[in-house]
Symmetry: C2
Subunit: 291 residues, 2 copies
């Protein structure tokens, strides 16, 4: 029996990230009730003993804890407040945990609406990609009240290596925006560095190795730098997702009256990659724009 046995968790959104996360919760002993728009993955998970719901509302009626891992802000809104949405089935005192990367202002708004229904809202976006989801080594950045954080924590412990309660509602999504800025822009930095080395006739693999011990060392150089060297761009994290996240961070900056020039530049570079047909590739394929 795992650490989550006896706990019922609703799980909505079973894509690249949601699938391995839900499987880890299942392995930890939680009783999972899942919903996903496309049916194939649901059938697969039902095959390992997980229960399926017929709608987000159905999930909410059956589970006191509901985790969302859907693609973007409009999808979160639809799942929560659309027809047969979570809000229509919500149990009193329930806890809704959004683990996706969702706009900050929308998150604060969703949290208020869920609170008005007598439930709790936790924004808990993650970093670490599909690999981190599978290996249960994600970083989770949490925006929530102390109480709601305490209730959600056992779930996070099954999934993550680094769990940080960043602040009140929305603070997790602010941290995730910061995360995506750093990831997106650093990928651009590593791409320019390795493309320059190659063009100058020097082996990019050796350069990557030489930089490992110094100030240029990063997870991006390690993981995405290797993808650039090997020219293998299976996601990982898709270029379209990275583009969406940077645009979302820029929207937040604009609301705050701030300019983020490097973030804006990199959004434009990801746009170029997508125009070149690379939207479904890993974000490290950004190097193709430079070569």
């Amino acid at each position: 029996m795992g650490t989550l046995s006896g706990i019922t968790i609703g799980f909505i959104g079973l894509g690249l990230m949601g699938r391995p996360i839900s499987l880890n919760l299942h392995r930890a002993g939680a009783e999972l009730i899942i919903y996903n728009r496309s049916r194939g993955i649901v059938d697969e998970l039902v095959g390992v003993g997980i229960k399926a719901a017929t709608s987000p509302k159905d999930v909410a009626e059956r589970a006191p804890i509901i985790v969302l891992m859907v693609s973007d802000t409009p999808a979160v809104e639809r799942v929560l407040f659309g027809d047969d949405g979570v809000a229509q089935g919500l149990q009193t005192g329930a806890i809704v945990i959004d683990m996706g990367t969702t706009a900050v202002t929308a998150t604060r708004n969703f949290a208020q609406q869920i609170k008005a229904k007598g439930a709790h809202y936790v924004d808990a976006p993650v970093s670490g990609g599909q690999v981190g989801a599978e290996a249960a080594t994600l970083a989770i950045m949490v925006g929530a009240s102390e109480d709601a954080f305490a209730r959600a924590k056992p779930i996070f412990k099954v999934l993550a290596k680094n769990i940080t309660h960043v602040g009140e509602g929305g603070a997790g999504q602010v941290a995730k925006a910061a995360n995506q800025i750093i990831v997106g822009v650093t990928i651009g930095a590593v791409a320019e560095a390795l493309a320059l080395a190659k063009k100058a006739g020097v082996d990019p693999a050796k350069v990557r190795q030489a930089l490992a011990g110094g100030f240029a060392a990063s997870r991006i150089l390690e993981v995405h730098g290797l993808r650039m060297v090997d020219q293998t761009f299976d996601p990982g994290g898709k270029a379209t997702t990275q583009r969406k996240d940077l645009a979302q961070a820029l929207e937040l900056a604009q609301q705050l009256g701030m300019e983020l020039p490097a973030t804006a530049l990199n959004r434009d570079l990801y746009d170029k990659l997508i125009e070149m047909g690379g939207g479904e590739l890993d974000h490290s394929a950004l190097i193709k724009v430079l070569e």
Copy 2:
């Protein structure tokens, strides 16, 4: 007796990096013969038993291995080929090691001229800053023939944790250009991320902590991110130096017919910081341009 006892090393350039490096070589038992344009630091080192030379030429006449750690490409050229320069005193079979960050094309040109005089040239720029120099945990990226690399390696071992023979002459400087692109652009990324968090009302210290385990993790987030959080900008690495290194990388890119948009953008941001009077601050002060 240290690992370098019995070895005579000439050392030219005793600034922020040269001083701790020369002291580490001295502590490892090398007989050091130093030269520096300004005299104060020379007197200090003579006080601990190091010998002073009267010119770069004098250094070359007295040492079969000559290390340069001077400020920029024109300074390397002056020290090597100016009046009373190294080239005028060079012993046959001597080895000249440039540990500074020098332009690639100039490096390949210097190496040829030194070779024509019957000596060897090694480009061995470092990463890790003053802290890494003091703690002997630098990363050294080396461009040299196999022979010259083998002869220089015992010296590097005293100074570094990560020594990579990247390729033939100039390859070390190509790797360093790549390093500086990543460092300069990643500082910009971390600055935008933490400035956004602060403006959104979330504690940047918590955000930095939340990001530590995920894909945004880097030495820059660790070291320079902390400087941004604490608002302490003593160098470290100066903004003017970072600006110079990015400009140098862009020069190389231009010679190769390549564009590096993020590097160019960040050079412009460092220019703004310098205009604001922040040139002597640590490069992490770039966050001041955004706030």
